[in-house]
Symmetry: C2
Subunit: 126 residues, 2 copies
């Protein structure tokens, strides 16, 4: 398929697809006239890339990690890298959960302040 169809099927713009290729996240066959042609599994690959972006990884990290996932070439180094990213992600999640809880308490305080007309208590913990 050509770039337009891949874009429609994945929901990402053609600009993004060319950008991914520029960042070595994606490769494509070229027809004689220079047009990109993708195989079916490109769709899955895009999905993988999008998930890794969603995980907070940058294009550089993704470029280093995808060969492992795609080709199964898991060097110990890459495994360490993956584990490191996983830990990173874990901490981000914990942070966000903490923040959500704080936000909840803020909401609680604000609600009761509205009910009672009394300013909500200030921040206490770290």
């Amino acid at each position: 398929m050509r770039i337009g169809e891949l874009a429609r099927r994945t929901g990402v713009t053609t600009r993004a697809l060319r950008y991914y290729e520029e960042q070595n996240l994606l490769t494509a066959e070229r027809s004689g006239s220079g047009q990109r042609h993708y195989a079916e599994d490109a769709v899955d690959r895009i999905r993988l890339i999008r998930r890794l972006y969603a995980a907070g990884l940058g294009s550089k990290a993704i470029a280093e990690l995808t060969p492992c996932v795609i080709d199964g070439k898991a060097t110990p180094e890459l495994l360490r890298r993956l584990a490191a990213e996983r830990d990173h992600l874990d901490r981000r999640i914990a942070d966000l959960v903490h923040t959500r809880d704080r936000l909840d308490s803020v909401i609680g305080g604000a609600s009761s302040a509205m009910d009672t007309g009394v300013p909500c208590p200030r921040d206490a913990d770290a």
Copy 2:
């Protein structure tokens, strides 16, 4: 206290503190010569700001929300806003947890691929 001490006590740079003021997230008294002077509770306020940034909010959203948290002026509108941000955050957390699990399975696949010498299986679900 002046800006340098506040910076040391909060761990954010003076540049960031001036930026926060520019974005109306923070106010300061001025001495005759124009230097900023902060009260003790500025430290807590910075922490609040940092948490909201960590929650993925932008300066604009924070500027709209902090008056509520600080002054207890919780209008129904602001409460709606807070609740909306909370839900947003909730979804982000769920996404990240999902991604982490996917990353775990990738790690699992890569490990076994290393052990068995067999390429890891391709992506299956959405």
